[in-house]
């Protein structure tokens, strides 16, 4: 069963490989992991994610888990959340973290960038309205600081406010005192993180995954 060319899962792997761009080997490894996480059931639920011990110390755990259940990450026009996901959805979410291939045109690179930034945007925009409001951004910063001892809510607010001010000045330029900045739209978000090189940073090396080192 170890051979890549086994007939067992091949047709469905082919389909997934095409959809997500993973190789057969990667899909197989991820499938192993999926089965391990879901205790050999067909679908994963949030409770399964909560069982991962290392994830418990992650300050943005909730948002990461939510990202898996968010339909917007499955395809372009999805909306809302689901309660449980199958392997395909798991793989689609994971595919956001694939490294870009070496030979890419500028346009392809730009697309990869937009896709990754869209993922992060969706993580911030929890109410699905297409903009990141001040409240949501404050929440992001609070979560980031939540594991660091004394929760200084004031500081989190100041930081989020300063960040928001920055976005506003970058995107809107000079604003009259009466104007109100609704929130960060996706376009503003793109502009904001223009120099961030997310396409090279938001990657996991899937190539060296070895199932024997999987944590429980």
């Amino acid at each position: 069963m170890g051979a890549l060319q086994s007939l067992h899962g091949r047709p469905e792997y082919l389909d997934l490989a095409e959809k997500t761009g993973f190789s057969f080997e990667q899909i197989r490894v991820l499938h192993e992991r999926f089965k391990q996480l879901s205790h050999n059931e067909e679908t994963l639920r949030r409770s399964h994610f909560n069982e991962i011990p290392d994830l418990a110390c992650n300050p943005i755990r909730a948002q990461i888990i939510e990202a898996f259940f968010d339909r917007r990450n499955y395809h372009q026009n999805g909306e809302g959340t689901v309660e449980e996901i199958g392997f395909e959805e798991f793989l689609v979410v994971m595919s956001h973290f694939r490294p870009p291939s070496l030979h890419m045109t500028e346009e392809q690179r730009e697309n990869v960038r937009r896709e990754k930034l869209r993922f992060v945007f969706n993580m911030h925009d929890t109410d699905n309205d297409g903009t990141i409001t001040l409240e949501e951004y404050r929440h992001v910063v609070e979560e980031l600081l939540s594991r660091s001892g004394a929760l200084e809510k004031e500081t989190a607010k100041s930081i989020a406010d300063a960040a928001m001010l920055e976005v506003a000045s970058i995107s809107m330029g000079h604003m009259e005192p009466d104007e109100f900045y609704e929130g960060i739209t996706f376009e503003h978000f793109l502009k904001l993180l223009d120099g961030f090189e997310i396409e090279s940073r938001m990657n996991i090396r899937f190539l060296n995954m070895d199932t024997s080192t999987l944590c429980k």
Binding site: L102, E135, D161, S169, P177, F180
Partner: protein
């Protein structure tokens, strides 16, 4: 005559450089006269016990021989020997710096030619002048170089090493440094041996080991030269860190290979056992060096925890611990450079959290200053030594050396990149490879190592070849790399400064990737980095950082630093009238409540924020009457430079007038903590406000945080400020009543001269 020969100037700026040249020549003449009887470099081995100076001896004789003559009391006497050594050293350093100054005054030349080239040319000229005068020029003594000139440069590089790109590319850098240098050594050494076998070259006396020794000296990329050239071309961070990191880390390999071949060339046979010992030696040298550096770094960090009462000597601790790390590593023949880098890297985060802002600036400036001086001196001496040293020019040897160095570098980079790209996410393109190969400059380390060789007959030939390669790389490659970078359109360094959004997202991405790795079950890069961070936070920071800064998360310290910088900029700009144009203001981003008619115009929130910051600063200024001038007890006032009392008072009055116009300043609690953080670092105990700040923080921490209910908050606010007619827009409130009270009273004092004067805010400036 000599004046014109010595002047490296273009016609129009002759007037500027002529006085410099005259000065130069005078200084120079003095130095050469002074060095008349000396054989070695100033700063080399000079005898400490001095013979009694000539004139007093003469006087003795005089008084002894003729007792009848009463010697007149010498009003003016000349005693140069007494100060000879420090005088000469200072003169050389002064000379070097004047040269550096001169280059920057002539703009055209410094744009085309990198500074290192100009300095070498100056060295050549000086060497030429000395030789023309007939004196023996000082050589670049290896002891001087390795013990005094090299450490400041390496410390500067290590302390300010950008950690994130360095660790992200660590694998690549190590491969280039270790494997690349090994390849270069063996390729050059082997091929040179083959060349030496050629009949007509008269190189028969050079055996394989000597060639390999030569290869090991010449193959190492030199950090000094790389820094000097790359500083000026501003290429992107990745390439910079690759070449620079390689030049730093290859020191271990160079040290091991050099000592290995040096030993072997004295021994008769070389066995496999010896080679294996060599490999073991490599690990010992590099890991040992790093460990020594890390130990000193931790000691330095630990010491800095207790320096809150003696701020003046803080910078010295940084320098001394680092230098000791270097020297200790050199004692055991470990890699001094790696030790120095490890010390700087280890020490920096903790020391920076502990020392005051002024100390930090001092450390930064002193390091830059020393490394700049060292670099200048190194290049000048290189030029001088070229003219001075005994040369044995052998066309074949030299030409082949240069060609082989280039070829081996190119082949090495291409081959290694092919392998490395299989493991990298961001692959290295052909352009990157070219720059990495082209940036492999050799420099003074190669020269000094060559100088240390003991075999005198080959030494001269080797030195000549080494100098030729150095000149070739520095001049040809150094000068052409800038136009090539432009031509190939290599990505340049991003000029934008770090924004808070990028910082937030960097952290966010780190956690996100760690989380995904955990979900995949993949113990990768991010997983271990996260573990290290948590270990650092839980244990190490507690020990090494004083006070409560130890629990401060990185995002907050970044934010504080930014605020501090902004506020200092504002205060230093002197006048509140010149507030920077804040493009958007707080009210633009606040959710809009029910629109209320504003009877009174209000200033924008951010302007208000800035004004508050300045007022706070002024407040502290007035309280700070006490100023001690004793070195032991220096009261540090971050805003004291150049600001006079009178000007501040005037500003204050102006501000008060302005503030009194604006009655509606809704309490915006977000600003208060930042104001607090701006002016007061916990270590500045002299500020009385600080204790209040501490107590504010303390009080806040002691209260639990009930869930905020906006309605209750709103009610609170409106009952407390019945006179406020302006828009009291609903804002999420901090649930803590105590802090509400404090901050409201503060803001109220600033905004309207109400009845309840808080003791800090009210009396002194709204009088």
């Amino acid at each position: 005559c000599a004046l014109h020969r010595g002047a490296p100037s273009c016609g129009s700026s002759a007037r500027l450089t002529a006085p410099t040249c005259v000065l130069l020549l005078l200084l120079f003449a003095f130095v050469s006269v002074a060095s008349a009887s000396r054989d070695d470099a100033p700063g080399g081995n000079n005898e400490t016990g001095r013979a009694p100076p000539e004139d007093s001896h003469h006087h003795h004789q005089q008084t002894n021989s003729s007792t009848h003559h009463k010697k007149a009391f010498p009003v003016l006497s000349f005693n140069y020997e007494h100060v000879r050594q420090p005088f000469e050293i200072s003169l050389w350093i002064l000379l070097a710096l004047l040269m550096k100054l001169g280059f920057h005054i002539i703009p055209r030349v410094s744009n085309v030619v990198p500074e290192s080239c100009l300095l070498i040319v100056v060295g050549l000229l000086i060497g030429g002048i000395i030789k023309a005068i007939g004196e023996k020029a000082p050589m670049l003594d290896s002891k001087l170089f390795f013990l005094y000139l090299l450490p400041p440069i390496i410390l500067d590089a290590g302390y300010f090493l950008p950690i994130r790109p360095f660790t992200e590319n660590m694998g690549t850098i190590l491969v280039f440094a270790v494997v690349g240098t090994l390849w270069n050594t063996f390729f050059v050494g082997g091929m040179m041996y083959a060349v030496c076998q050629i009949e007509g070259a008269q190189l028969g006396g050079v055996d394989l080991l000597s060639c390999l020794l030569f290869g090991s000296i010449i193959s190492a990329v030199d950090p000094v030269a790389v820094l000097a050239v790359f500083e000026e071309i501003h290429i992107n961070e990745l390439l910079h860190i690759l070449v620079f990191g390689e030049s730093l880390l290859n020191d271990a390999v160079t040290v091991v290979l050099y000592h290995l071949f040096e030993e072997f060339s004295h021994a008769d046979t070389v066995t496999v056992g010896d080679a294996l010992l060599g490999v073991v030696c490599f690990f010992v040298v590099s890991l040992g060096g790093i460990m020594v550096g890390a130990i000193y770094g931790l000691l330095g960090a630990f010491t800095s925890r207790f320096t809150s009462h003696t701020r003046v000597i803080e910078p010295l601790f940084v320098f001394l611990y680092s230098y000791m790390a270097y020297l200790s590593a050199e004692v055991f023949h470990l890699s001094g450079i790696m030790s120095l880098i490890a010390c700087g890297v280890m020490m920096r985060p903790y020391v920076e959290a502990n020392i005051s802002h002024k100390s930090y600036t001092t450390v930064k400036y002193f390091m830059k200053m020393w490394s700049s001086v060292s670099e200048t001196l190194i290049f000048i001496f290189l030029g001088v030594s070229t003219v001075a040293g005994p040369h044995a020019w052998n066309w074949t040897f030299v030409i082949f050396t240069v060609i082989l160095c280039l070829v081996s570098r190119v082949l090495g980079v291409i081959g290694l990149t092919y392998v490395i790209n299989k493991f990298r996410i961001v692959k290295l393109t052909k352009k990157d490879q070219f720059i990495v190969a082209y940036g492999g400059l050799r420099g003074a380390i190669a020269f000094s190592l060559g100088f240390l060789l003991t075999n005198s007959q080959l030494k001269n030939m080797f030195l000549t070849a080494i100098i030729t390669v150095i000149f070739f790389t520095v001049f040809v490659q150094g000068m052409t790399i800038r136009p090539l970078v432009e031509l190939l359109a290599v990505k340049k360094k991003k000029e934008s400064k770090r924004s808070i959004n990028e910082e937030i997202h960097t952290q966010f991405l780190d956690h996100l990737l760690t989380g995904i790795e955990d979900i995949c079950g993949h113990y990768g890069h991010h997983h271990w980095k996260d573990k290290l961070n948590r270990f650092n936070k839980a244990y190490v920071k507690r020990w090494l950082i004083a006070g409560e800064r130890s629990t401060e998360p990185q995002l907050i310290s970044f934010y504080n630093k930014m605020e501090m910088k902004q506020a200092m900029m504002l205060v230093e700009s002197g006048s509140a009238a010149k507030l920077p144009a804040i493009v958007s203001s707080m009210q633009n981003i606040q959710p809009r409540g029910p629109a209320r008619p504003r009877a009174i115009p209000s200033i924008s929130k951010s302007r208000e924020q800035e004004i508050r910051k300045i007022l706070r600063a002024n407040l502290q200024k007035t309280r700070q009457r006490l100023r001690s001038y004793s070195r032991h007890d220096l009261l540090i006032d971050p805003f004291e430079d150049g600001l006079s009392e009178v000007r501040f008072r005037r500003q204050r009055v102006e501000m008060e007038r302005r503030m009194s116009h604006y009655l509606t300043v809704p309490a915006n609690r977000q600003e208060i903590p930042s104001v607090r953080k701006v002016c007061f670092e916990p270590e500045h105990q002299v500020y009385t406000y600080d204790t209040d700040g501490e107590s504010l923080r303390g009080r806040r921490a002691s209260h639990s945080h009930p869930s905020a209910s906006d309605a209750a908050g709103l009610v609170n606010e409106s009952t407390r400020r019945p006179d406020q007619s302006g828009a009291a827009e609903p804002r999420p409130k901090a649930p803590d009543d105590q802090e509400d009270q404090d901050q409201l009273t503060l803001s109220r004092c600033l905004s309207d001269p109400g009845p309840n004067k808080d003791e800090e805010g009210g009396g002194s400036f709204l009088s």
